[in-house]
Amino acid sequence: MIFNPVDIILSFVLLSVLFSFGTDRVQVLIKLVGFQGIVISIIPFFIGHDMTTGGTVFTLATLLIRGIIIPLSIFVAIRKGAIRRLVEPIVGYHASILCGLALIIGATYISARLDIVSVSGFKLLEPTAIALLVTGMFLLMARRNAIAMVIGYIMMENGIYLVGSGLSVGTRHIVEFGILLDVLAGVMIMAVILRNIKQTFDDVDTALLRTLKD
């Protein structure tokens, strides 16, 4: 079919990915992650599976957590420690954007090679998933700001969630549930650590965390 809500939504996500490459503000990143969270958690509605009530509730819960709780918690962490709002890139912004484009293209290419479409009927689903994954990785590697790294981690999880959402119903919920739990707990712990880092070094620049080495 020509008009496909999922692909439209996913294209938004890809856009947000590009933004996340370009931006230099932590808040923006957080907002983006929240946006992604909301978007990807509503995707299951549009994927052709028949939604049971339980499934619906579950999806809503996902939306709640991904879209609101997690971003909020990070905001809280920030306000608690009035963290500097810059992401301190290792790779510059413009270079990052180029990287982003390259990543998206690469992602599309790869997903074309492994025919995941057979599993889920949507063209953009897999490229977006891979793009999110790699973006998360990229943020983890290319941003010295600890918060940016956490966000990168969340993006990765989002990507995996997308991949998982291509699964058939029988196994999907447990997967989603697991991811959700993991992200929640993980982000909570990370937030705690963030705060501690802030208190110890009164900065979240991971360049300070390079003392342990051989």
């Binding site: 492994l114 995941i116 058939s168 196994t171 997967v175 990370m190 650590i193 110890t200």
Partner: protein, 474 residues
């Protein structure tokens, strides 16, 4: 009713957060004992699991579980003494997370469902993070940060891998549950490409947790910064849990007839880890980091053995058992050394044999064991692995294996000799109480006994475990 085994410590852990010091300590030991007995009963009469599609009693799981509970019991005894000697902030948190950690690890060993396994392993990460941060120092904070972040990323990879494995089921058998046993059963019908991809991701993911090079980077930091009982747990059993994940996935691979692929990758990772360990042990200047790297080495050996297959798998399992026993004893001894000399650097220690003779015995015996000297079991393990590798004809690989073991030994021995015999003018700050030496002795003794005599039932369990992934004795 299998779940109770991890339910109890979980609840206890939650309680322990709020208990006063003394109660917390005693609770630790009590739960350890209870857990030990429970897991023994589990081992003796395999009861069915309540959520039987998520949990099951598998031989390889039982092996790790037994090791876990034995180690935890002894370590908890040690911990009591340790807590008495050293002052650490918010002890409740410490004991609590110890128990929760135990619970999560138990859950790993009992889980049969891919996702549950994954959740459990991630949970171990989160549960052990506070343990590493116990000392509240900048360094420990950094270690925790790296530990959590790297492991989470790795585990995320594992998750992706699991999902891909799920993909490999395709539409054909969407009915089958995502449990290892079921998948192993239906292995032939799985799509090999997805399976391979899944295995790669799972291996990298759990390998990160298991400490296989080049994903091992968090390990030395975490082990050196965590308080010794925690490091003992981390290196003694946590790594095994991660290994369990790989082991089970490998089971599917073997069942699907892809053991050459998986075996090859495992061997490569094994060798890489051993080489990495050699690199850093050779000129190490902190003993706890040294021990950590030696853990990496042993994980490498185990992975290598698993990859070799045949007798090698047997060797790998033997190595796993004995490494847990010996390495944890070593970490406990290193805890004594740390308390005694109050310094992490090797050059500031020395003449252990005079200063702390009891600890010296445990420490040196542990070293001999880890270095693969009889009468400790790792000797048998390495022997089997090497023999099997030759039998399978991986001559180059086994040459690298042996040579790097030599290098590691040279470095390790050098450091240990320094610690044990060099002159020093430090005055020992602690006295060796019974509860801080006997756990090590018991651990070593167990390894020693297991080197010469393995009870048939245990032997049966081992062979069950290894036959599943094509480990044969001949």
């Amino acid at each position: 009713m299998v779940e109770i085994v991890f339910a109890i410590p979980f609840i206890a852990g939650l309680i322990a957060f709020f208990l006063p010091k003394f109660l917390g300590r005693s609770l630790l030991v009590v739960i350890g004992a209870v857990h030990l007995t429970l897991s023994f009963r589990l081992w003796k009469n395999h009861p069915p699991a309540y959520f039987d599609q998520y949990f099951a009693v598998t031989p390889e799981g039982m092996l790790s579980l037994l090791v876990i509970s034995l180690l935890f019991f002894l370590i908890s005894i040690y911990t009591v003494g340790y807590l008495r000697e050293s002052e650490i902030p918010s002890e409740g948190l410490f004991t609590g997370s110890m128990l929760v950690f135990l619970a999560t690890m138990t859950m790993v060993t009992l889980s049969d469902h891919i996702m549950v396994m994954w959740i459990a392993i991630e949970a171990t990460t989160l549960a052990s993070a506070p343990l590493i941060y116990t000392h509240r120092s900048a360094a420990s904070l950094e270690a925790t940060w790296k530990y959590v972040l790297i492991c989470s990323v790795g585990i995320a990879m594992a998750l992706l891998g699991s999902v891909l494995v799920a993909f490999s089921m395709g539409q054909a058998n969407s009915g089958t549950p995502l449990s290892f046993s079921a998948l192993a059963g239906a292995a032939k019908t799985l799509d090999p490409v997805w399976l391979k991809a899944g295995f790669v991701f799972v291996l990298v993911g759990y390998g990160t947790k298991m400490g296989l090079a080049p994903m091992h980077t968090w390990l030395p930091d975490a082990h050196s910064e965590a308080p010794s009982p925690a490091s003992a747990l981390l290196s003694g059993v946590l790594l095994n849990c991660a290994y369990l994940g790989i082991f089970k996935t490998n089971k599917i691979m073997v069942a699907a007839g892809l053991q050459d692929f998986s075996g090859g990758i495992l061997m490569v990772f094994g060798l890489l880890s051993i080489l990495a360990a050699a690199t850093f042990i050779l000129k190490q200047n902190e003993y706890k980091r040294m021990l950590a790297y030696s853990s990496i080495e042993n994980m490498g050996i185990i992975a290598f053995g698993t990859g070799v297959g045949g007798l090698g798998v047997y060797g790998a399992v033997i190595c796993m058992l004995h490494h847990s026993l010996i390495k944890s004893s070593l970490f406990l001894s290193s805890g004594n050394i740390l308390l005694g000399y109050g310094d992490r650097l090797i050059k500031n220690t020395g003449n252990l044999v005079k200063g702390m003779p009891r600890t010296f015995v445990a420490f040196f015996a542990g070293f001999a064991g880890i270095a693969g000297f009889p009468p400790f079991g790792i000797f048998i393990g390495e022997f089997c692995i090497v023999i099997a590798a030759f039998k399978a004809g991986f001559h180059v690989a086994v040459t690298v294996f042996i040579l790097s073991l030599c290098v590691i030994f040279a470095g390790f021995a050098n450091q240990v000799m320094k610690i044990s015999f060099d002159e020093t003018d430090t005055v020992i700050k602690m006295k060796e109480s019974i509860s801080m030496v006997w756990p090590q002795y018991l651990l070593l003794l167990t390894s020693l006994v297991l080197c010469f005599f393995i009870p048939d039932s245990l032997n049966q369990t081992i062979s069950d475990a290894i036959t599943a992934i094509g480990g044969g004795l001949k």
